[in-house]
Symmetry: C2
Subunit: 503 residues, 2 copies
Amino acid sequence: MLKYIQITEKDNVAIAIEPLAKGEDLGGGLVTQDPIPQAHKIALRDMKKGEYVVRYGVRLGALNRDVKAGSWINEHMIEVPQSPGLDHLQWGTHIVTDLPKPPRTTWLGYEVPGCEYAGSRNILGITTAVQCVQGVLDVAVRKMKEELLPKYPNVDDIVALNHPYGCGVAINATNSDIPKRYVRNIAKNPNFGGELMVVSLGCEKLTLDMILDKKDITPENVIVLQKEKGFHAMMDALMAMADKKLARLNQRRRVELPLSKLCIGMQCGGSDAFSGVTANPSAGYASDMLVSGGATVMFSEVTEVRDGVEKLAARCVDEATCKKLAKNMKWYDDYLAEGKVDRDANPTPGNKAGGLANIVEKAMGSIAKSGTAPICQVLDPGEIPTKHGLIYAATPASDIVCGPSQLASGCVLEVFMTGRGTPYGLASMPVIKVCSRKEMKEMWDDLIDVNAGTIATGERTIKDVGTELFNLILDCASGTKKPFAEQYGLHNYLCIFNPAPIT
Amino acid sequence: MLKYIQITEKDNVAIAIEPLAKGEDLGGGLVTQDPIPQAHKIALRDMKKGEYVVRYGVRLGALNRDVKAGSWINEHMIEVPQSPGLDHLQWGTHIVTDLPKPPRTTWLGYEVPGCEYAGSRNILGITTAVQCVQGVLDVAVRKMKEELLPKYPNVDDIVALNHPYGCGVAINATNSDIPKRYVRNIAKNPNFGGELMVVSLGCEKLTLDMILDKKDITPENVIVLQKEKGFHAMMDALMAMADKKLARLNQRRRVELPLSKLCIGMQCGGSDAFSGVTANPSAGYASDMLVSGGATVMFSEVTEVRDGVEKLAARCVDEATCKKLAKNMKWYDDYLAEGKVDRDANPTPGNKAGGLANIVEKAMGSIAKSGTAPICQVLDPGEIPTKHGLIYAATPASDIVCGPSQLASGCVLEVFMTGRGTPYGLASMPVIKVCSRKEMKEMWDDLIDVNAGTIATGERTIKDVGTELFNLILDCASGTKKPFAEQYGLHNYLCIFNPAPIT
């Protein structure tokens, strides 16, 4: 039985499929020199201090000591290299058009008038202009769910789109366009069916014109709490507006739609060294099938692609796309530098325990979820796409920020790959979990929707798992299946990205 | 009837108690030259371009045009001055010891073993090490409230202390000590009775040693979701631990305690030009009574005291306190400058509509809530005090961040002054609302607990309202009364202050 996985022939390290004892014979004369934890790296030959450790055919960094073949190579032995330059990226040098064909080309979605994409759910999403209104709105939403929702069986849920932005912030600061865009665009997510319901306090800095088109600022869409005569009047106004919006949403029906009407997001969190060989390539395979069928797929997480920027540039379809990629990488480099850190602040203790030595190795695994399709557009964080196909949405890698970013960009379903395990979920779109290791599925059998761990042991192929995931994506988008997080109602808050100061 | 309020004899402006028409005779030969909105400034005499507008005896800034006596002076006419220097602050030059005596000197609180302060409520607070656990914890807390809480009638509530920190952040960045301190100290709030219940995912950057003492990291206190065999096992573990903690909390009883066992916070939000003459001075009067009786009272909000720093320095009891005040002001100046803004990014559209021309005027009103007592200690954001008396806790002014900051610093009740109106509340401590204008109380009769607006019309004095507020603070702290926000369950999320980058 296979004991380790070497990804490319250039690689001078491989990862252990199971924990290995010291002195184990791995075949071909290779014998372990140390106990090696599962997913951690084994030196495939003797290496000298200063020599580069290579995995995915990529230099993870230089060794800070000599190692013998069969030794454990961990994060303390590798120096993080400089990140690749951004000024002379080559675009369009690796455009793959031979993508796997999808076994299905339609799904059942909720169309939205005037919108490129359709919804996977039919939800009343209630936008908040400021966090001050949250207490009142949450009480109202509980009441709506009890008293109104049962009257409208075609509506899936009512969600208060609470967030920490809106006031007590430097509203005109250089980077304030980012959180403003999130609030504005989340309201437009196809899962909310084009119905606008907005709750404002009345004195906040995030004024209605910053988040709504002028034509939409009407008494039919907006409740200003300071204009209501007290708490009970607020509740009455909220219930009355919700009732009207729910009645309209209740008219919606799923219809059979081409994949071009589907927009989904891919993200990963709690990754390990298997993520890049099992879960993420499977997601990449499903992504390629979706893109080849006409769907839009986003991948994200700036710090987790920064070291692979040359590979992404090579897949950009034109110069403008490549330039926007570089611009977003540069912006994040500067943002981190202002906080006196760099991209290597990204890996977590869990990543490291899972065998990821540094951000370079993590990035190579992370990028695998984008498959092989050309990148047709790059989005600023929270921006809505104007093209169909594979899209890079430049968001923070933080799981709890990436999700809301993809929601703002119009995704109606998210696929979440995990090595260590996270129960993350969102109220506004279904989140499918894919695990990288068999042990994870055994541990969290009732939380992990797809087990990609069997790829490491050779039981299944990337194509097998990728196809399973593709089908599950369409089933969940069509509402015929629900991922575990949705079944249990696991809902993380919307942490929207505000790189500007608070006041 | 009085038509305007002039605060000090030095002032060359006053504010309109009611909206004034053009041409109204205000007495003493003063006639309005413009319609003047309620709470806005009237020029008391002719003034030249470049002359300083003076209110509270303080220069709000220089006029950018000539104005006639009786004219409306608004924010567009005043240039914001430079903020006062921090290098040569004079401390101890204005120490007032003649404070009003409190009419009551005891309250009913829940003592906490080993803690300087007692709780105003008896709550199971469940600390989260990372936002990833929030979905699971929220489902569990709903179940706990249904199935466990009814068994323990002496426990007031169960609160998931969700926050956006813990992972996807630069955990070792220069300013990461601030959010870490929040998470650690909120768990110690006296309202949680010294019981620790912590939920970790297992792979997050905010490791348990960063938020707990070593002795407290035990299976009795900590649940690690990645160590549980799936969702149902997580729920069982959470329910079982909560059951044990609730049983212990249920043993607690209120006892009569001296005021020295009470620690409360003061903040304001949605302020107007009345705030500084009605609501905030009343809060200051109540604060003076509390401090004189031995209680600890915090006031906060850096950008809203920055322009009054010389007045605060004069009230500092020693050099160390004054230096820590200056250090915190400097830190925030730099923090804002990095985001390319300054303290004048603070005022909101509501503040301006309420007659506050700029941050200087807002600060003078804001400081009024600190009363006249000497400042015995200055705290970094989220720090726990070691002294009793009036304390300046240097937190952001953002309402939704200031509250959690005071919670971290150990406050068990908050008093919130508002001019424009906000329904803000917290699950972990009662929040009393005081309004600055009669019209606010008329509008939000069922949300405003204390009406200080009657001070402007001369119907009541600052002493009257301050004494009413003092009594309500003790009644609410003692659990014999509940403010409106608590009655309705209005609970804002815990937005903890993270000035470091996210990754």
